[in-house]
Each structure stands twice: as structure tokens, then as C-alpha cells.
């Protein structure tokens, strides 16, 4: 089957089958991290036992994150349910889920919280999408209830009878409001482009397991917001995000965000944007650096002169887009310095390049460039000897983000081939690698999943090294004139008089030059030039 090509996040190309009217074949591992609350866990498992999804394709992994006394598996639970326990010293929500991920063998991983009561077709609604494409994240619709909850047997009876909606009062429950709003604004995420990753919320999301393993597990350094961060990394590995209103579940009690929103946000604003480069609204500082930069600029120094590489890297580092990292590619470990006459060392240009930036926090040296820039969302590959203008990079990335381009190629010069700088969108290239047919040029697949665009280097401020001005520290702003305004007038008058004298001097000089140049010479007739061919 040819992999479907979702453009940006517009999953309209996929048409899922009607619930109850299709034949599933993929397996799913439901991973539930739990701490305390045996009573809620009993309900979660009772509801999972009543799923319409075939039980031989469904496994459940419960991870007890250190409850005392330990949690146990209740009587009503899916056939294939396992209970694991985290070790002392490695606890926390992210770690518990990673433990589950390690043992899960489903084709799809379905994160679920230990206080969720799913409707009978919740898992089926997730899975009908995963059968259509191998790079999806699906998010369900959760409603938060605060009523007293029923017994596990009642939950099982209602869910398995397809009456999960009757367990609680819909009117009294609260929706996951920001997801509802986001869906409203973005046509159910179809128009969400680079912000869709935010719906990877581990209380009710499911992910293709192969994509998840490629992306890596949850970041255990993050105590909160780890699911958002993983969602972001999944996007850099090509994920598309689907909102499925039919994947319904009840959440027992209100969420931490509902109870304590301001404090949680204050906490998250520190730790999450450092790793999530697309949070531009959080990264507004003009000069700061972050753990995950917005753009990786790759310059392959192999075979280039020191001066060319330096001009390019200096130009990049002087640009108005500060949130970037420069990756210099070269055979750095094999460079040998002549300790007596270092100026005659072999590979001297590379030695100089290696020495020049080694203490610059924004420059790193690699020998082999990884295929993907992930988790960095953009990669600019720049031939040494070509220098972007102060604003070129910022404008190019803004264009790419605005139009969703997966590739912007900059035509710099041409001989028999066109010399090109390339700005690549990491997520678009990752998806292109997932969907490209054997032998198909990757750029062609990128054209389908994100779009490609060419710009003219000169128009976009690029210059060859020989013409590019050397970056200079900005002149500090002139201090405000001190003293009375009268003194300033006197100062300016003096300056005026000085400039007038200088003009007189230069006019004299010009006259002399003119006289010496006016030797008899053939005069040009004032014929207009013929117009250029258009």
C-alpha cells in the first residue's frame, strides 16, 4: 500500500471507516501509569474490559509508580492485563510510562490515565485512524466529571452495552476546553500546521509505536509538560495529529490544570519552551539561547578555505535570528597540528576553523552530520563562501513558517549547476522519508507533504564572501546630550562650521583632480543606450 501523504497537518486525505463496520488487524498496548487511587483504577480497567476492540488485539500495561500498599489488578479487567512496578529512585510519571513502553508489544501505544473511564468504542475510534497511516498521533475527547462514581460492575455493564454516555451527567461535566477551542480555530487541527503537536496529551492520546520508538521515550527530566515535549519531538519525526471526537472518555475528577492552572503554567513556562522550539510566543527574547535551537545552520568546511567558512559562519552568527546553532562539518579528529611550524600544518584551513569557534557556545563541530536535525525544527545548509545578510535567515524562516514550506532553496550562483543554500523543515523531511517511494527524490515527497519554494539569493540579502561586509559591533547609542539645550546648540554650531571647512577642502581637491584628468580625450557622443532585451 502506498503511504498516504498528509500535507502539513491536513489529514482530510484519510477517510476512516464507520465505527463497528470494519475489520481491525493492528495490536494496541494501553499504558496506564498509576499512583494510588485503586478505586479509580478499578473503573478504568472495567471500562477497558468492555471495549468493542477485539480483545486478542488489545493488551493493558499498568505501572504502579510506588503506591503503598501496592496496587493490585481487579477482577474486572481485560484478558491481557499486566501490572508492573517502578523501582525506588526512578519514579515519576514520565519514567513510569517509559517502563510500560519498554515492555509494550502493540503496533500502537495508547496512553491512558488511571482515572479515565472510556466509552465502549474509544479504543476502536483511535485504532481506525492508525490503520490508515503509520505516522499518526490520535487524541480523544475527554470530559471531566466530579460526581460520585458507580461501582466497577456497573461501569463494565454500561460500557459493554455501549451506554458509556449514561454513566455520568453530560451537562454537569466539563470538556477539555483548550482542545475544543483549538479544534474550532483549526478545523479540527487540519489547519494547525506547526502547533498541532500540543494535542499529544498522555491522558487520552495514542501513537504509532514504531514512530514513538524512533522518536524516543518521554523526557524524565521534565516533571510536567513531558507529553507536550514528546508531541513536539514526534512532529519532528514526521507525525501528523488527528483529533477524534468519537474517542470519548470520562475523567474522574478535574485535571491538575483545572485545579491549579496558574501555578502549573508558571512552572511549565520555565521548563518546556527550552526544549520546544516552536513555542515562539514564549521565546521572545532577542538574544537568548535554548537547549533546542530554532535553526541549525550546517556549514561543511571540508575543502573550503578558512576565509570562506569564516565569512559564512560570522555572517550567520551576526544575524538578527539569534536562536540558532551552527554545526561545522569536517574531519576534526584527524587534524594534526605541526607543533614547530603550525602555519605549515596540513589541513591548515580546517585547523584554523576548528580553533576559531571552539569556545563559542553556538558553534559545534561534527564529523558526520546526522540525517535529521531533530529535535531542531529547521536546518539551513549553507555552502561556505556565501553570507546571509543580517536579516536573511530570520525572513526566510518566517516565510517557511508562514507558508509551511518544507524546503526553501536559495539560488546563490550558477556555473553548470546552481549553487544553493537549503532551508529544510525537519518534520517535513522526516515525513517525506516515511512516505517516499523507493528511488523517489526526497524533495519530491517534501513537495507533497509540505511544499517547496525557490528564492533568489541576491534579493534575499545573500552575498559572496568577497562582497560581504565584516560584521562589526554596533555603535552604542550616543549618550543623551547633557547640560542645557543652549550648550547643545553651541556644540552643533561648531560641528557645522567644522563640516563646512571640510567640504571646502574636499571641493578644492576635487577641482584639482578634475583639472589633471581633463587631458584631451575622445568625447563620447550623448547617444542613448539601446534598451536591454527583456
Amino acid at each position: 500500500m502506498k503511504a498516504p501523504r498528509i500535507r502539513h497537518n491536513d489529514y482530510s486525505v484519510l477517510t476512516p471507516p464507520e465505527l463497528g463496520a470494519w475489520r481491525p488487524r493492528l495490536t494496541v498496548s494501553v499504558i496506564i501509569a498509576a499512583y494510588g487511587h485503586q478505586d479509580k483504577l478499578d473503573l478504568t480497567l472495567a471500562a477497558l474490559a468492555g471495549q468493542s476492540y477485539p480483545s486478542h488485539l488489545l493488551e493493558v500495561i499498568v505501572i504502579d509508580d510506588g503506591t503503598a500498599p501496592p496496587l493490585r489488578l481487579p477482577e474486572i479487567a481485560p484478558e491481557r492485563t499486566r501490572l508492573l512496578r517502578t523501582e525506588e529512585g526512578s519514579r515519576g510519571r514520565a519514567n513510569a510510562r517509559n517502563v510500560g513502553l519498554e515492555v509494550a508489544d502493540g503496533d500502537v501505544v495508547h496512553w491512558l490515565d488511571a482515572d479515565m473511564v472510556t466509552h465502549h468504542d474509544e479504543v476502536e475510534a483511535h485504532m481506525r485512524w492508525h490503520h490508515l497511516a503509520g505516522y499518526l498521533v490520535v487524541m480523544g475527547y475527554v470530559r471531566y466529571v466530579e460526581e460520585d462514581w458507580p461501582a466497577p460492575a456497573e461501569v463494565y455493564a454500561a460500557v459493554s452495552a455501549g451506554a458509556g454516555e449514561k454513566l455520568f451527567d453530560l451537562e454537569a461535566s466539563e470538556p477539555h476546553q483548550w482542545i475544543v477551542d483549538l479544534a474550532e480555530r483549526t478545523d479540527g487541527l487540519r489547519a494547525a500546521k506547526d502547533t498541532a503537536y500540543r494535542v499529544h496529551v498522555t491522558n487520552a492520546a495514542s501513537v504509532n509505536a514504531r514512530l514513538l520508538r524512533e522518536t524516543g521515550p518521554l523526557q524524565t527530566e521534565l516533571v510536567l509538560g513531558e507529553d507536550t515535549e514528546l508531541g513536539y519531538r514526534l512532529a519532528q519525526h514526521g507525525a501528523a495529529f488527528v483529533l477524534e471526537p468519537q474517542a470519548r472518555s470520562w475523567h474522574l475528577g478535574r485535571s491538575m490544570m483545572m485545579r491549579d492552572g496558574d501555578r502549573v503554567s508558571r512552572y511549565n513556562r520555565v521548563f518546556v519552551p527550552d526544549r520546544v522550539a516552536h513555542m515562539r510566543w514564549q521565546r521572545t527574547h532577542p538574544k537568548r539561547q535554548y537547549l533546542v535551537p530554532y535553526v541549525e545552520v550546517v556549514v561543511d568546511a571540508t575543502g573550503a578555505s578558512y576565509e570562506d567558512t569564516r565569512a559564512t559562519v560570522d555572517g550567520v552568527l551576526a544575524g538578527s535570528l539569534h536562536d540558532l546553532q551552527v554545526t561545522l562539518v569536517g574531519p576534526w579528529s584527524t587534524l594534526a597540528e605541526d607543533r614547530r611550524s603550525p602555519q605549515y600544518s596540513p589541513n591548515l584551513d580546517l585547523l584554523l576553523v576548528h580553533g576559531l569557534y571552539r569556545h563559542d557556545g553556538r558553534v559545534r563541530y561534527v564529523e558526520r552530520l546526522p540525517e535529521s536535525a531533530a529535535p531542531t525544527p529547521y536546518r539551513l545548509t549553507c555552502p561556505p563562501g556565501w553570507v546571509p545578510g543580517p536579516d536573511s535567515l530570520r525572513r526566510m524562516v518566517a516565510l517557511a513558517a508562514d507558508q509551511g514550506y518544507g524546503l526553501i532553496s536559495v539560488a546563490l550562483d550558477e556555473t553548470d549547476v546552481v549553487v544553493t543554500a537549503r532551508l529544510e523543515h525537519t518534520g517535513a523531511y522526516a515525513r517525506a522519508r516515511l512516505v517516499a517511494a523507493p528511488g523517489e527524490p526526497l524533495d519530491d515527497a517534501v513537495e507533497d507533504v509540505a511544499g517547496t519554494y525557490w528564492v533568489d539569493g541576491a534579493t534575499w540579502g545573500w552575498l559572496p564572501a568577497a562582497e560581504a561586509p565584516e560584521p562589526k559591533a554596533q555603535q552604542p547609542a550616543r549618550p543623551a546630550p547633557s547640560g542645557k539645550p543652549g550648550q547643545e546648540v553651541v556644540r552643533l554650531r561648531e560641528e557645522n562650521a567644522r563640516l563646512e571647512r571640510r567640504i571646502a577642502q574636499l571641493t578644492d581637491e576635487l577641482e584639482r583632480v578634475r583639472l589633471s584628468a581633463s587631458r584631451p580625450r575622445r568625447r563620447r557622443l550623448p547617444f542613448p543606450r539601446r534598451p536591454e532585451r527583456r
Partner: protein, 638 residues
């Protein structure tokens, strides 16, 4: 237009107060207001063109004649009534509204005859877009000659004629069938000299046609085909006999694609029925109310140019089926994109033809993309001009009457190449040209005719072909001249060996020459395939306009005109731009038609005459697409 906007300049004295003036009006919504504003103190006898009788004018010996037209198209209707309009020493011509591209009018009478007795000629601006021309002659002149002199200056034609048999109109009410020709005789009475006044006549259904020597057709005035007339006894029979030949033709010299906007600023308008007439409406504002007769004028088309499209529901249909069909044919010929969501009724299929109707858009989405919209427009205009233009209609009439009609002119395609390996490709592009008679003059520039690639390509080509060999060191312009010297067609067109051409490229150029009247026509140089980076771009040229240049590989010029200019300059490069310059300086004009049927190839530098780098094209691109992406009109099959 209000009377205030119509006020003529203060120092205008056309005739003395109280002097008799005969006025003929065409297309005016309120003739009295116009007459009062322009001819206030005179004693005016005004008639509308549709009420003029062929007999002697009711005002004998007028001091002046005034021809008052709403639009240039209306003025062209008056021209054909030359025979019915009086003569005077003072003639005034007013055009109240002109299209935005309209040139300042000029009076170009016959040299040494009418022009020699022209003593005074004034041209004034009238309102926002109108013109008022007043003339005084030393000798009485037919007012129709002045109107003809002005319409002649409106387009590119030096000769304001049709290559068709001479036409006689039995009644002034039939002027719309044959607009813009002062040579049409009016009245149908036999010439006393014994020489028939025409080869083909058109009369009203019940009118006499005394000249038995002249074959004649009958057509009713539009009033006979209104819905009310059809509802009357015997009317239904008329409805059953409808065919395209019943629809007055589109005056393609004034109603044509000129002024088309490829990026419309406004949305989709609607054609609605208001006050019994079809009216083009956008966002609740009426832009154009089409006259009862269904006449579409150049000025009205110009008002609709900013619309993305016009949506058309067939019912209720204007004043009558023929008038409604006439509106649709006129708009289609002008290239106004039309959307018809509902299937056409029987009368529309009968009058417009299924071919044209099948080209109309079905839904708004069909015109949402600018390029798709322009493709739609080009297809519609091609078909409507060929099926409903004046030349087409009368060619059909003449053929039906057994009169000889001129065949299509031959085009000599002059192609100069330095690369034998490209000849097969280029001849393949020429071989698929349709709707034209052509011959090829292949100039081999430093390539021997015996080159196996060339020989194979030439023998596979099944239209007339002449090979000219030129030494490699001969300048390009000289090679072209050597090739033109061997050409025998009425027209010469230049062909690039490595560019792509749509199958209607030459037919479109001939069509554009017909409606623009320009001495040289060519395509806009919009599409480029940048071979090195596999990208197609589209540049921002305006098309369907008079201009000072066209794409070098696309222009078409009369062989005689090319010879009059001394051919190409014998230089190695820039021969095209030099030719354009000398044509403009010699008083000729250049028309640039749409660029959808041409795609220039931009290969690696040094192999092509274009020297600009790839970035030059990227910078000037309005659109770009990955891959080889010609317009659909190119009918490219990979």
C-alpha cells in the same frame, strides 16, 4: 451619467443658438439629457439609431450633425449607417463612456480627400472617461465618414475592412449585424449605375428587397424575439427555429479580450434580472445593466474586468432568448469568466451551441485559482470569437449563399537553429499546431542539412518545409532574413527551437491579430521552465494589451510589413527588440495576447540566448511550481 458630468467645455461653440442640428443616438439611456447638455442652445432633432428610417433625413440641410454614442461599440454601430446619416460642414461625435485602455480619439479621414477639407478639429475630455470631438469642414461631409474616421483610430487597423463580400443592410435597425463598416450600403434599393451595391443583403422579414441580383437573408429586429412576443400567437414557432445564426454577432473589433485582468481584485458577481433586464451585480451594487437588445459593449466589459467571474442563472432570461444569448456570447468573446451552475435551457443550447456552453464553469471553485480562471477565459473567448464574431457569422452567411469566401491565410514559421538534435523536438511542436495553414522555413545555422538528426526530423514532418543553410559565422538576424526571403505565407512568425508551444499557439495569434488589429502580435513571456532546478515560474506581465514588446519566440507579423521595415537587423543578438523598436517608430503597434500557450526553456547558462541567472527569474516570478508545469492549454503529455 449626470448632466453636470456631461457639461462640454465653456468655449465650445458647435453651432449658433437656434441652428438646426440632426442628432443620431446610439445606446443612450437618456438621450434628452445628453442632447440638452451638449447641444443646449441649438434646435435639435434627435433620433435613436434603432428608430432611424432608411429614407431621407427628416431635417433637411442641418447646420450640424451630432453622433452621440454611449460607448465606442455604440459608435461602431452608427458607422454602418453612413448611408442613412446626413452630411454637414460641422459634425460632432460624442462617446460618453470609454474603457480604461481607450486611446485619445483622433480623426483619420481619407488622405487627400476628406482629411484635406478638415478645417478644425477639437478633442475634449467629457466626464470621467468620455470624449467629445467637434469638426468643421470646408465642404459638407457625410457624418458617417467622421464616425468611421474616429473608429478607425480606435484600434490598430490601418485598413478598417473585413475580408468578406460587401454587405447591404435593408434597414438601419439591422446595423448591429454588421457594425463598423462605412462601406455597407443601407436601404436595399438597386444602384442606378447597374453595379450592385453589395454581394449579400440582410433585410427585415417583411421588407421588400428590390435588387434581385443580390442574395438576401431576413432577420427580425430584436423586439420580435422578446419573451412577450414569443408568448403571443405564432411566437412559439420562432422559439423552435432558433440557431446561432439568429443571434446578432459580437463586434469583435471592440468586444474582445483586451484589458483582461489575470488577478481580479473583486469576487464573483451575479447576473440578475432587474427592471426586466439582465444586470451584473456585485455585493448589492449594479455594475452593468445590459440593454434590452442584449448588446455587450467594450465599456461594459471593462467594468466587469475586476470581477473574478460572473454567475449566471438562465432563468429569468433577460428580455428574450436571442438577447440573452447575445449577452452570453458577448461576455464569452470578451473572456469574462462565466459560471453557469444549472444546466442550460433548450433555447440557450440552440442559440449558443453546446460547444460553447460546455466550456462555461459549473461552480465557483472552477475559477478560484487565477491560472484555472484564465484558462477558462481563453477557452471561452476562442470559441465565442470563432462561433459568434462578426467575421465568423458573415463567413457562414456568405458560404450558405454560395458566395466565395477567402481561405485562411498561410503562416510561414521561421525557425533558426544551431542544434540539429533539437530539430525533431521543434518540428514536433509545429506539427501539432491546429486551425492554421502553415509552412516551415528551417534555417540551419552552421548545421549541415545532411545531419542525420535533421534529415530524420525533416522527413518525418508532413507539412510544407523549406531548408535554408547558413554558415555558423553569419549573424542571427541575417540568417533570419535569409529564411524570410524563402517564405511565401501572408504572415511570418518566429519560432524558438527549444521552447514549448501549445497546439493553439498560432491560431491564438491570428485571432488576436483579428480583434486587436495590431501590426505585430505575440504572446506574453510569462512561463519559464528553469531546467537546472526543475521549477516552472510565471512572470507578472500583463497580457491582452497594446505594448512595446512581446516574447521573442512568439511574434507574428505580416510578411509585407516585415519587408517594409527592412527585415531583421543583421546582428547576432537582440534582433527581436530591435524589430519592435523599428515597428513602433514607424507608426505600427504591438499587441500582447495571453501567455498560456508558450513556455520558454531556460537551460544552463551559455547554452541559451538568455543570459540572466536563475535568480533573475525567481525574483520576477509571481508564481512558481516544482517540476514542468505548463498551463493546461499547452496540452502537454509527459
Amino acid at each position: 451619467m449626470t448632466a453636470k458630468a456631461l457639461r462640454p467645455p465653456g468655449d465650445l461653440l458647435f453651432v449658433k443658438a437656434g441652428a438646426k442640428v440632426a442628432a443620431a443616438c446610439a445606446g443612450l439611456e437618456d438621450p434628452d439629457e445628453v442632447v440638452a447638455a451638449l447641444l443646449g442652445p441649438a434646435s435639435v432633432h434627435a433620433v435613436d439609431i434603432e428608430r432611424v428610417s432608411a429614407g431621407p433625413w427628416p431635417v433637411p440641410d442641418p447646420a450640424g450633425v451630432a453622433l452621440l454614442a454611449r460607448t465606442p461599440t455604440d459608435l461602431r454601430r452608427l458607422v454602418s449607417l453612413r448611408g442613412a446619416l446626413p452630411s454637414a460642414v460641422r459634425v460632432m461625435v460624442a462617446i460618453l463612456e470609454t474603457p480604461s485602455w481607450f486611446d485619445t480619439p483622433q480623426v483619420v479621414m481619407s488622405r487627400g480627400v476628406g482629411q484635406r477639407v478638415l478645417r478644425e478639429c477639437r478633442v475634449h475630455r467629457l466626464g470621467a472617461s468620455g470624449w467629445l470631438i467637434t469638426t468643421r469642414f470646408s465642404k459638407e461631409q457625410p457624418a458617417g465618414d467622421v464616425a468611421a474616421a474616429i473608429t478607425r483610430g480606435m484600434t490598430g487597423f490601418h485598413l478598417n475592412a473585413h475580408p468578406l463580400p460587401a454587405v447591404a443592410l435593408g434597414d438601419p435597425a439591422l446595423a448591429d449585424w454588421w457594425p463598423g463598416d462605412p462601406d455597407a450600403s443601407c436601404g436595399g434599393a438597386p444602384e442606378k449605375s447597374g453595379v450592385p451595391s453589395a454581394e449579400l443583403g440582410l433585410r427585415l422579414p417583411d421588407a421588400e428587397w428590390p435588387d434581385r441580383r443580390v442574395p438576401v437573408l431576413a432577420r427580425p429586429p430584436w423586439e420580435h424575439a422578446t419573451w412577450t412576443a414569443i408568448g403571443a400567437p405564432g411566437g412559439y414557432e420562432r422559439l423552435a427555429r432558433l440557431d446561432p445564426g439568429q443571434v446578432p454577432p459580437v463586434d469583435e473589433r471592440s468586444v474582445n479580450p483586451r484589458g483582461f485582468l489575470r488577478t481580479p481584485a473583486k469576487g464573483i458577481g451575479d447576473i440578475v434580472l432587474a427592471g426586466g433586464r439582465w444586470t451584473a451585480r456585485l455585493d448589492g451594487r449594479d455594475l452593468v445593466a445590459f440593454p434590452e437588445s442584449g448588446l455587450v459593449t467594450d465599456t461594459d466589459v471593462d467594468r466587469l474586468r475586476r470581477l473574478r467571474a460572473l454567475r449566471l442563472s438562465w432563468r429569468p432570461a433577460h428580455t428574450g432568448p436571442i438577447a440573452a444569448a447575445r449577452v452570453v456570447a458577448g461576455l464569452a468573446a470578451a473572456g469574462v469568466p462565466l459560471i453557469a451552475p444549472s444546466p442550460p435551457p433548450a433555447w440557450a443550447t440552440a442559440t449558443l451551441g453546446e460547444d460553447l456552453l460546455s466550456l462555461l464553469a459549473r461552480e465557483d471553485a472552477d475559477v478560484a485559482d487565477d491560472l484555472r480562471r484564465e484558462e477558462l477565459s481563453v477557452r471561452m473567448r476562442r470559441h465565442a470569437l470563432r462561433a459568434h464574431g462578426t467575421t465568423a457569422r458573415w463567413t457562414a452567411f456568405a458560404a450558405a449563399a454560395g458566395l466565395p469566401v477567402p481561405g485562411p491565410p498561410t503562416i510561414s514559421v521561421v525557425m533558426c537553429t544551431r542544434r540539429g538534435d533539437l530539430v525533431a523536438f521543434a518540428l514536433g511542436q509545429i506539427a501539432r499546431q491546429r486551425g492554421v495553414e502553415l509552412e516551415v522555413v528551417l534555417a540551419l545555422h552552421g548545421v549541415p542539412a545532411g545531419d542525420p538528426d535533421v534529415a530524420a526530423a525533416v522527413s518525418a514532418f508532413d507539412r510544407p518545409l523549406t531548408v535554408v543553410e547558413a554558415p555558423a559565422e553569419m549573424p542571427f538576424g541575417a540568417v533570419l532574413n535569409a529564411a524570410v526571403a524563402r517564405a511565401s505565407g501572408a504572415y511570418v512568425t518566429k519560432w524558438d527551437d527549444d521552447d514549448w508551444y501549445g497546439p493553439d499557439h498560432l491560431a491564438d495569434l491570428l485571432l488576436a491579430r483579428g480583434y486587436s488589429g495590431a501590426d505585430l502580435v505575440g504572446a506574453a513571456s510569462e512561463f519559464f521552465y528553469l531546467e537546472q532546478i526543475n521549477v516552472t515560474i510565471r512572470r507578472r506581465w500583463t497580457s491582452e494589451t497594446m505594448s512595446d514588446h512581446v516574447a521573442g519566440g512568439t511574434f507574428l507579423i505580416a510578411r509585407e510589413t516585415l519587408a517594409a521595415l527592412g527585415g531583421f537587423r543583421p546582428i547576432p543578438r537582440s534582433v527581436d527588440i530591435e524589430l519592435f523598436q523599428s515597428l513602433l517608430r514607424a507608426g505600427g503597434c504591438i499587441y500582447r495576447t495571453h501567455g498560456l500557450g508558450f513556455m520558454a526553456r531556460r537551460a544552463a547558462r551559455g547554452k541559451h540566448t538568455w543570459q540572466e541567472p536563475v535568480g533573475y527569474f525567481l525574483h520576477r516570478a509571481k508564481d512558481q511550481w516544482r517540476g514542468f508545469r505548463p498551463s493546461r492549454l499547452m496540452e502537454h503529455r509527459p
